[in-house]
């Protein structure tokens, strides 16, 4: 469009007039020109409509009664052609009847001027309509700008979301025994849900809810994802992850922003769940027989307490294959219906009771929440995840599928690592030892085996050797929880004790041989009877000797069980690249 508004004289307008009376037309044209405007005159409505597109006037003045096409018809067409642009149409009339004047405005006109013309009034009206026209144009421009910026922002967010998804969703959320639902309020949502297999088997799941949603929440989620996947893959425990994540969030988040979260450490081999809940609604553990246990939040959310005051103790639950764990964010309980009532815990319990097959647990709860809310859109993000405990073998180890690294690394080496005194109670050497072994080219694919061997040896040395706990305790559910509380207690008093790992690796024709020796300062145990009893009975856990025998090529105890030696022969999947 022409930009008369940008003229030096802002009030100089480009005006189209149409009047079939030659004298009236001439009078008006002269008058407008004297006022400093540019004028194009037409003798009827048809001509006005024809010249309109090329002339692009700022304001149109139309006589109402004209031959060929009258002013009202012309006004309608001109308005159509102008589209979103505001081109004021003012009718010229000698009519004085109120109904007739009103009819002009009903037909799409913006105002009228009565003949004979009054110069002062014409000048004032043109000024008023010019202001309106400029305001309209400013608003349209601003609207277009906002639309443009919004579209740009959404595109950027979509791109950022792809990056975010690549970082955040690399884990094992699609495992057969996990079901989940995430509903985003915006492209990014304040809820996080990560799952990652542990090198020893089993997995970690982190479900959380940041204060607020959108970009700030997503930015906070990124370092959590990095720590969660990184440390889990390296073999760190749930408590280690929690401490690290909390510490990071305390440092990077402004006060007032935090993350309500629950961390689940599932071990399918030991059949146990370890759970930490800080600020999320009660988790529900549904046993195979239908009984339910509620796992309430016992801690402050992540990112609130400094590391000195943060408590990362995880509660231990003994489970069986077929047990289900359900965790959710507060969006579920706070979902509102038309009457602003919240869904709440009572309705959730009812929905869980009604859910017949445990497989459809999440669907049952979701259907119920949606039915309750009606068509009202959720105010908060809403995330649900369920985990089914399975038999160890059903959970596949993804490390075996890793591409074999072609990088060269150390193949012939020996190292001794000893943990002493109070460090025994505070620090697990497993991630470090696993890391050393994973430097061997080709051995990374066997990380699950190696981690299992290291952790079985370490746990035996610590729990049975140093802490003198009897595995018989773990044969009953009561004893099971006693065992773990006793373990915590005794860990406070380990002065004078040690656990020493000696690792040696050498290259063989087919792959390599790893030799692990684990010694401890305990009194030892009768490993001969232990092996026999495990072969005959289905133990809750025992000492995992059977498992180690299966994995390693040889398992040998000496010094009355306080020194264990495992030899692990492994083969490359493909021939060694020369």
């Amino acid at each position: 469009m022409k930009v008369s508004a940008d003229h030096v004289d802002a009030s100089a307008l480009r005006i189209l007039i149409a009047d079939d009376s030659d004298s009236d037309r001439l009078i008006l044209k002269t008058l407008l020109k004297r006022l400093g405007h540019e004028v194009r005159a037409a003798s009827d409505g048809r001509e006005a409509v024809t010249v309109f597109p090329d002339y692009q006037p700022d304001i149109v003045l139309l006589d109402v009664l004209m031959p060929v096409m009258d002013g009202i018809d012309a006004a309608r067409r001109i308005k159509e052609m102008a589209g979103e642009e505001l081109v004021p149409v003012i009718f010229l009339t000698s009519l004085t009847d109120a109904d007739a004047l009103a009819h002009c405005l009903d037909a799409g006109g913006d105002d009228f001027l009565t003949k004979p013309y009054n110069k002062v009034i014409i000048q004032a009206k043109l000024g008023a309509f010019n202001r309106m026209r400029q305001m309209h144009r400013t608003l349209s421009r601003q609207r277009d700008l906002i639309q443009d910026r919004n579209r740009q922002l959404l595109e950027e967010q979509q791109l950022a979301k792809r990056v975010f998804d690549n970082i955040a969703h690399t884990g094992c959320l699609d495992a057969d025994n996990i079901r989940y639902h995430i509903s985003p309020l915006s492209i990014f949502n304040g809820d996080i849900l990560f799952a990652c297999p542990r090198p020893a088997g089993g997995m970690h799941i982190l479900v959380g809810d940041f204060t607020g949603h959108g970009l700030p929440a997503a930015i906070g989620a990124l370092p959590i994802a990095e720590i969660f996947y990184g440390m889990t893959t390296m073999g760190f425990s749930g408590s280690d992850l929690l401490r690290e994540i909390n510490d990071k969030l305390v440092r990077i988040l402004p006060t007032g922003m935090f993350c309500c979260a629950a961390l689940i450490q599932a071990d399918f081999h030991l059949n146990q769940l370890r759970i930490w809940n800080g600020g999320l609604p009660d988790g529900v553990l549904i046993r195979r027989d239908g009984t339910k246990e509620f796992l309430e939040s016992k801690y402050l959310p992540l990112g609130v307490l400094s590391s000195g005051r943060f408590d990362a103790s995880m509660e231990v639950f003994h489970t069986s294959a077929g047990d289900m764990l359900l965790m959710m964010t507060d969006g579920v309980l706070e979902a509102e219906n038309q009457n602003s009532e919240q869904y709440g815990g009572a309705r959730l319990k009812q929905a869980l009771d009604n859910a017949s097959a445990s497989e459809q647990l999440i669907d049952a709860v979701l259907t119920d929440v949606v039915a309750f809310c009606g068509h009202r859109k959720g105010r908060d993000d809403l995330t649900l995840v369920s985990l089914k405990m399975v038999v160890d073998a059903e959970f596949r180890q993804p490390a075996e599928q890793l591409p074999q690294s072609v990088l060269k690394g150390p193949t012939d080496w020996h190292c001794v690592y000893e943990v002493r005194d109070e460090t025994l109670g505070k620090f697990s050497p497993l991630p470090l030892l696993l890391h050393i072994c994973m430097e061997v080219p080709g051995l990374r694919r066997k990380s699950a085996d190696i981690y299992t061997l290291l952790s079985e040896l370490y746990n035996n040395a610590l729990e049975h050797g140093v802490l003198k706990l009897s595995s018989d305790l773990k044969t009953s559910s009561d004893g099971f929880s006693y065992y773990y509380s006793e373990r915590e207690r005794r860990l406070g008093n380990v002065d004078g004790h040690f656990i020493r790992f000696s690792l040696a690796h050498r290259k063989t024709d087919a792959g390599g041989q790893l030799r692990i020796i684990c010694e401890d300062s305990g009194d030892g145990f009768d490993h001969t009877t232990e092996l026999e009893s495990q072969a005959t009975e289905a133990h809750y856990s025992g000492r995992g000797l059977m498992l180690m025998q299966k994995l390693g090529n040889s398992l040998r105890y000496s010094e009355y069980g306080s020194c264990a030696e495992i030899v692990y022969d492994w083969e490359l999947a493909e021939p060694v690249p020369e």
Partner: protein, 101 residues
């Protein structure tokens, strides 16, 4: 006004009362309620008797107040919460940081 403040006669205690929903929309008003007071206030009372709802951003604002009032040395009481509000404070274990009555 959804947020009212009241100073005790000795000026030591500032009471902040929140009416209706305590969520992000009250962010600025809540901050104004305590930031514009002079330094003599040693006790804070957040009166939640008229509060119908509290969300996680409100929890964040309470943490901001706690920081302002001296962090671990802060003396803040949360008073008269209804059951819904209490439930949210309990889930988040805020009783470890605030005195809740």
């Amino acid at each position: 006004m959804p947020i009212r403040t009241h100073r005790s006669d000795d000026g030591q205690t500032l009471t902040i009362q929140i009416e209706g929903r305590f969520d992000f929309s009250t962010h600025q008003a809540f901050r104004n309620a305590y930031e514009h007071e002079d330094r003599e206030v040693s006790n804070f009372v957040v009166d939640l008797s008229q509060t119908t709802y509290l969300d996680s951003s409100a929890l964040g604002m309470l943490l901001l107040l706690r920081d302002f009032a001296g962090g671990d040395r802060a003396r803040i009481q949360l008073k008269h919460c209804n059951n819904d509000v209490r439930r949210i404070l309990t889930i988040s274990n805020f009783e470890q940081l605030f005195s809740i009555q």
